[in-house]
């Protein structure tokens, strides 16, 4: 059974269906149902996935697309892709449920009414593309999805966003296109120089041997991914886009779309251009560390909740990129896990911030105060999401951040130490935000806040549950991720570290 094609087809057909039904309410219910079907299908797929099997890309489907240029419709998943697809399909139903009234125009402070059906159809189209981009095993197909993803997101920001939405949407689009075009050049050059007559990723591994060529092609790919991720200093589109996007779209933007950047670094940059990756490692690690500290410091100074969360993400993306380029088993697995965990923790922060903004009509931190007194559940879930963001042990982000740092420390101790100061800054920005918004005397404007209703609880509960579960028991995810990361690193051929003082009975556990 063509599992992955089915996974993509269901939301696309669903989007068509959603845009055809008469009533808005039915459209929402249909969208939710479709996304849940996709979730179930992914569950079945994940159950059949065998992380330790010899075949790297499982559920592979390869058909000719443009035979003249060796372009294929090639999909397949390994452990890394699988967990990211899982992240996407888990987040989409949650986002749909969370965005239930976003386009309605109801509520005292809601934005004006816009087409509800279009919004949910766009969400489903986006879901299909997110699955596609992670599942592509053809570099050209990956590029197509990479760019096509921008379209639904552009409309979601540009039509359903806040006051500055068109500025943010255009900035987002131009930035991403800029990176994407560099990547297109590199993709074509890769095809031409490799002389393999195909765009299939597995066949292109090791095709480029010349170090100078590798460096140029690496730069083309890397800048695209650095813009997408975003890495410092290509980050300024993210705060605008995330702050202007509706909360649901912001979750998918920061939670999933941006992961394509770091995923691309891990999958394509490292494996296609191993020597160039090693050459550029110091530069990337410096950029990552700067991003970690810089993102955190700028986040501390923000006065807008959504911008603050966006800047925390820039800091977190620094961790992920650092983990990818540390090129150790722990850091690589940690970075992959971080991609998933960051999706959940930042996703829940954005969604709960969205609930707050829906109630108050303002995203300024100064407009809140003492929310904990009137809406304890809201405040509590916000705190948990925030604590996950500052990677409190026992919550999911800790495991990944710890692995990234320890893995980086194995090879690059100094950057790892500097990056670790990020955990202090993280505590400052999260807790200060919590202090300003949730504690203290209850502000007049929040006196009448209702606590989370049933729908909102259903939105938050699965996220919190995942955050805590992965925080204490990350093994199932790591078991899927580890073999894939090890395979990647063996392609890159990096020497794994050995402890200074080895146990005589064999190092490690």
């Amino acid at each position: 059974m063509p599992w992955l094609s089915t996974l993509m087809a269901v939301p696309v057909l669903g989007a068509v269906g959603v845009s055809l039904v008469k009533s808005d309410k039915l459209a929402k219910q249909l969208a939710l149902a479709i996304s849940l079907v996709v979730l179930v299908l992914t569950g079945v797929l994940a159950a059949q996935f065998n992380p330790t099997s010899g075949t790297r890309f499982q559920f592979a489907e390869v058909y000719d697309w443009i035979p003249r240029f060796g372009v294929h419709y090639g999909v397949g998943v390994d452990g890394i892709a699988l967990v990211l697809i899982a992240l996407s399909v888990v987040l989409v139903p949650i986002v749909i449920l969370a965005s239930w009234h976003d386009a309605d125009g109801t509520g005292a402070n809601a934005p004006p009414k816009r087409s509800v059906k279009t919004y949910f159809a766009l969400l489903l189209v986006l879901e299909a593309m997110m699955i596609g981009v992670f599942a592509s095993t053809d570099v050209f197909l990956f590029y197509v999805f990479f760019e096509a993803m921008l379209i639904p997101m552009y409309f979601m920001i540009g039509s359903y966003g806040g006051a500055q939405r068109s500025y943010a949407a255009v900035k987002f689009l131009l930035y991403s296109l800029f990176g994407g075009l560099l990547m297109l050049v590199a993709v074509i050059a890769l095809y031409v120089i490799a002389e393999k007559g195909t765009f299939m990723f597995p066949e292109l591994i090791g095709a480029i041997q010349d170090p100078t060529t590798q460096k140029w092609l690496f730069a083309g790919f890397f800048i695209a991914f650095a813009v997408k991720a975003p890495l410092w200093p290509f980050h300024t589109w993210l705060p605008d886009a995330a702050a202007q996007a509706p909360a649901g779209a912001a979750v998918l933007l920061v939670g999933v779309l941006d992961k394509v950047g770091t995923y691309g670094m891990l999958r394509f940059c490292l494996e296609l251009f191993p020597d160039a990756s090693k050459f550029f490692t110091p530069l990337v690690i410096v950029l990552s560390v700067v991003g970690i500290i810089y993102g955190a410091i700028v986040a501390i100074g923000q006065t807008d909740i959504k911008r603050l969360i966006a800047y925390t993400s820039i800091s977190h993306f620094g961790f992920i990129a650092m983990g990818v380029f540390a090129m150790t088993a722990n850091a690589g697995a940690g970075a992959t896990l971080y991609m998933v965990n960051h999706g959940f923790s930042t996703g829940s922060l954005f969604l709960i911030a969205g609930f707050l903004i829906y109630r108050r009509g303002s995203s300024q931190i100064a407009d809140y105060g003492g929310v904990q007194k009137v809406a304890p559940v809201l405040a509590g879930t916000f705190l948990i999401a925030g604590l996950s963001s500052l990677s409190l042990p026992g919550l999911s982000s800790f495991v990944s951040e710890f692995m990234v740092l320890i893995g980086t420390y194995e090879i690059h101790p100094v950057p790892a130490i500097i990056a670790t100061t990020g955990v202090i800054l993280a505590a400052v920005y999260v807790l200060w935000m919590y202090q300003r918004m949730m504690t203290g005397p209850t502000a007049e404007s929040v006196k009448l806040f209702p606590d989370l209703d049933i729908r909102e609880k259903w939105v938050v509960a699965p996220l919190i549950a995942v955050i805590i579960a992965v925080g204490f028991f990350p093994k199932p995810l790591l078991d899927v991720i580890n073999p894939a990361v090890d395979k990647t690193l063996s392609t890159v051929q990096v020497d794994q570290f050995t402890p200074a003082v080895a146990d005589k009975k064999g190092a490690g556990q």
Partner: protein, 633 residues
Amino acid sequence: MQSPVEIIPHSSGVVGVSWLMIVLPLLGAAILLLSGRRTDRWGHFLGVAMVLASFVVAVASFVELLGLPEDQRRMGVALYQFIPGMADMGLLIDPLSISFALLITGVGSLIHIYSIGYMSHDPDRRRFFAYLNLFVAAMLLLVLADNYVALFIGWEGVGLASYLLIGFWQHKPSAAAAAKKAFIVNRVGDFGLLIAIFTIWTTFGSVAFAKVFPLAGEASNGTMTAVGLLLLLGACGKSAQLPLQSWLLDAMEGPTPVSALIHAATMVTAGVYLIVRSGAFFEVAPTAQLVVTIVGVATLLAGAIIGSAKDDIKKGLAGSTMSQIGYMMLAAGIGPAGYAFAIAHLITHGFFKANLFLGAGSVMHGMNDEVDMRRYGGLFPVMRITAITFIIGYLAIIGFPLLSGYFTKDGIIETAMEHNQILGWLAVLGAGLTGFYMSRMVFMTFFGKKRWADDAHPHESPAVMTVPLILLSIGSIFLGAFLILGNRFMKFLAPAVGLPEELPVFHFGSTAGLATLALVAVGAVFAWFRYGAADVPEVAPRGSFLTTFARRDLYGDALNETLLMRPGQWLTRFAVFFDNRGVDGLVNGLAATIGGTSGRLRRIQTGYVRSYALSILFGAAVVVGALLYVGNM
């Protein structure tokens, strides 16, 4: 020194289910938090029951441990794989961890019970008990973990619980700020601990105690010194040692049982636990040990000085806590000779300091939550049980002969004296200061004139609060003698931390002991003249430079503010400005440049067809020229 025994995997008996110690209070916290208002009526009983059950498991494990021969008294309980290939979730039941477990669950239970009464009027009592349960679970994970990663989870878990409990009354901005401060300062310490764990991992390829400690001797001295200092940084954060002491005094914003449980008896001693647990590293890094002792002594003096000037009874006690933990640090830095005294003092301190805090809470409970000692005075007749238990705690802490504190503190001072005369005498001086400030507290609170506020109607607290006080004071009287005499505790701990080559013998009336007693007496008498016999003004007099210095927490906050907060704020403002104008400005500037250039370039399109024709003709001429050129080549 006699090296500790190896860890034996164990999965049967009570020890096999010792994880219940952690899971039960965690379950309690989860139920209380998730159930909402439904459990408001009986939630506190559930919280108490969970901790009591945990205590029962701890006692049972302890009994089972005692039943084993000494060389088998380190039992590893594997639970599950946490991060495959790096860290597994597992517990280590040995004399050291079980001592802590008993202290945490025992004193914890008493404080839980006490809280039923203390928090009876608070609408959020259920949430309070949930947080307390969460704390107990995290603290137990910290001390029972068999590797550094699991320890770190507990370490941060108690930090979270501490944050939640300090900020329990969130509507008070001061409480919220204090909670945040505590967490952030702790994070600075955690940073050190994290780097220490990284270094341990890269040095030994493992983070499990069982794997790394036997190899400690093989690592380079520099590495071990670094690990030791980093661990010390972590310990300083958690245990409020210099230079990370500033959060503890603010942490008194939390409800008093929290101060008793977390900020006196258990959590703040985690740093001492960490140093003692990592003794294997410190023993091969004498420099790190020396720094530990110096930090300990500095903090014990600083805490005592701060405690001497505070009028807020809880802050006075907080200063005292700092000081006492300084003693423990001092002992822990000395090595195997000091470990037993450090832990013993830790345990007795857990009892008498909890006793003192709860007593202070009881006083506040009767005085409409007044904390200013200048508004107390003459309370002895109206709250006799509280007063008597408080005085027992007081006598214990100042080292009144034959009470708990006497044995443990004297042990530390004498060990320090043998180790290093300067440190020893400074510790003696600290003891004298203890005598002064604790006496001052007792005299100001229970004796002298009544300086109560007009609406104060002091009364004795209910039995649910006084019974824990009585139990704790019994511990405060006898525990020290029980642990120290005959080196009972030292031998018990030996499987975990080893024994010194020469067992100390406790003798009454040693030079250091007598000097300590004399200084304490001087301090107490001085306090009597200042605060017992003389009238205490209701408003604090300006005081000398030293008093101001102490009242301002030795300018610790001012230092932090000048050195870290202000530059941090500037940096933040600059970074935000730089991001908006610099990075984003560059991008937007580039966009504007392109837009402007094309705007100007656009002017070439004049709309005059003749201009276009001219350029076409030029183009044609160029083409013809090129053709000719190429043709002639």
